[in-house]
Symmetry: none
Subunit: 401 residues, 2 copies
């Protein structure tokens, strides 16, 4: 029997509710030698209070040393091994723009590119055209008619877009058309298994047609496709953990990742406070609340130490909204670190705190990277979070007699 | 996808250089109840400084409770699971005497032994003859002529030697001739698979011929062979980690282990200081420097607590040689513990420190067993060292979007 198997087969439906609060990019680094991190230097009385009354540790969302993208980072938090559950680039792009994928959909990431008169790639990013220009180009391609297939094209940012082919039997064993090089023409999409022959034909037909529709463009007169991927939803939170789970997230990517594991997604508008309000308003309807806050990651990616600190402080001020909710387990962590001094996601393990009536307090005195390193949960893989959450919510039965 | 697979496929060639300093047998035990270990009682301002500005933990080179030999210990440090990558005794012996193995070589460990008139084993170690006597016996056997095969025999220490058969198609599925008992004759070497039939024939022919050549000896008049093993180099550091790796080691065993994983080996003469000098002199030529210092292990094996402490202090005094090298990650650890009070390798996890610009300092105040146990890396398997090293050297790309 596997660990996952024991957890799934020992779930019981009654128990405390779980508020799973993800501060995107939470972990950080000091901005000067001997200094404190973004989290450690933030004024955060409520996080500190939760840590003091609870238990802390450091998580590796994927594995030690691995820098998680948003997809693998969240799958890790949700307890789906990111090394075995690979979400293809095309599907992640479609999730990222909030496209409502269906199980027959085949998605691919698009780069708008500049081709010369002979069809060779001059610029793989078409001079990084502005997003508005990308949206205009997408309108030229969306809804293209290919027999037996519906074609959806959506803009991401700048030169980036996504195409979704909806039709029966479109397999994703396809090579990229993007050669990841300039001075050569885009490649023909090839089926890497016989079953994908029709999908390859459709992808190539789409690419040919884009050349005609983009012929008048000077910069973005071609497309490069990569990361063909079928949409394959994962076993749901209900199936694996017996949880009625809901996502409270403002950004499409995270709403999409939540949908991938079968969470309901509430349509919340507004800032972070509206997420907390929605949690309170719907507290009796669900068992598990995935609340996602993007701001710390954004500030970290911008290299703005002070802004990241403020983003954490803003969440801290919202936490008391949960104080009066009965029978709850509160978890606060992140999907990866985004140290402002690195301006990027990083591999550093992420602070984790858990507070609830069955949590054994470990004497942590504040919530931070160093204090969490000394927390009683130690350094642990993210795949243990959900089992720990279920257990501390009183939702796992005894194993064996 | 496996952890190792993600690491290999996300390596990038640029990044900080990695100085990987292995103090053989570093971990220890207090020499009296309530006392400090060899490392903890050493005066080691530079190790303490690196620990203070960095991160510490405790590694299990093989697995908890397992006492590593030099081979498994180093394979663990290098990120090759010692439980799946078994280096046969014969190959380890050949590496240990610095014999330049080739991929067609079949090696076996020899014991010189005393046989009685009926050919029964009287002493499996021939009275532990001195090494000089062993060298004389080896000269009688080396270069023995067997058609289609070259035979090399080299002395180790006392009654120990190694034989290498060089020829095409010599498989190593062979039983030992050493019955590990006295009062019985040596066994015939048997092929455990049909492909090894020729190798068995050659091994038995070698054994027969040694009886003739050693007939005049009183003590060492026979040989016992065990641990037949073909030389199989492992995937290289370049292949697995994208690293140009070099070994700076004075002892043949460690030079051989480094060669096994594709490291270049510099021909360094002198003491430990010459290793550090070589690192500085060749700093621009490689990405990864495996610097091996044997002295702490030797003192530990001798049961000399004070001498082991001094050996650590001697390395500490050399560390400032690295101070002016730019863009580096420094790692200091050991391949196993060798507590002086045990006079042997032990299973105790080994202190580990890492210091570099992307390392999140964890408040460690000195380098020692107890302080490392409280370090933010926690207790972790050695196979995570290289992924962590690559990550902290900025040499691993993001996994997933």
């Amino acid at each position: 029997m596997t660990y996952e198997g024991v957890v799934s087969s020992h779930v019981q439906s009654a128990g405390d509710r779980i508020a799973f609060i993800v501060l995107d990019g939470l972990g950080g680094l000091p901005d000067k030698p001997g200094g404190r991190t973004e989290l450690e230097s933030a004024v955060k009385p409520n996080l500190d209070r939760l840590a003091k009354g609870g238990q802390t540790g450091l998580i590796d969302p994927v594995a030690p040393g691995i820098t998680p993208g948003s997809g693998p980072g969240h799958l890790g938090l949700f307890g789906y091994d990111p090394l075995t559950h690979i979400v293809g680039r095309g599907v992640l792009s479609a999730l990222g723009v909030g496209f409502p994928l269906e199980t027959i959909d085949l998605a691919a990431r698009i780069n708008f590119a500049t081709l010369d008169a002979e069809g060779r790639i001059v610029d793989r990013r078409a001079g990084r055209i502005p997003t508005e220009e990308c949206e205009g180009l997408v309108a030229l391609l969306d809804g293209m008619e290919i027999p037996g297939v519906r074609v959806f094209v959506r803009a991401e940012k700048e030169h980036r877009a996504v195409v979704v082919f909806r039709g029966e039997g479109l397999e994703d064993a396809l090579s990229d058309s993007d050669p990841q090089a300039t001075g050569v023409p885009p490649e023909i999409v090839r089926a890497e298994r016989p079953e994908a022959a029709r999908a390859a034909e459709i992808a190539n037909r789409f690419i040919d047609e884009t050349r005609k529709r983009l012929a008048a463009e000077t910069r973005a007169n071609g497309v490069l496709l990569r990361g063909f991927a079928r949409y394959r939803p994962l076993p749901t939170f209900r199936e694996r953990y017996g949880l009625r789970a809901v996502a409270l997230a403002l950004y499409p990517m995270y709403r999409g990742l939540a949908r991938l594991v079968g969470m309901e997604v509430l349509d919340v508008k507004g800032g972070a406070s509206s997420l907390f309000e929605a949690l309170v308003a719907h507290y009796n309807e669900y068992d598990f609340f995935f609340l996602h806050i993007k701001d710390p990651d954004k500030a970290g990616e911008d290299g703005n130490f002070a802004e990241k600190k403020k983003a954490i402080e803003a969440v801290d001020r919202l936490l008391p909204r949960l104080d009066d909710l009965p029978d709850k387990l509160v978890i606060v962590t992140g999907d990866h670190s985004t140290p402002a001094i690195m301006k990027s996601h990083s591999f550093h393990p992420v602070p984790f705190l858990m507070n609830g009536r069955l949590v054994r307090p470990d004497g942590t005195r504040e919530f931070g990277e160093s204090s969490s390193a000394a927390g009683s949960l130690g350094r642990f893989p993210a795949r243990e979070i959900l089992p720990l959450a279920l257990a501390h919510a009183g939702r796992l039965k005894k194993f064996g007699a």
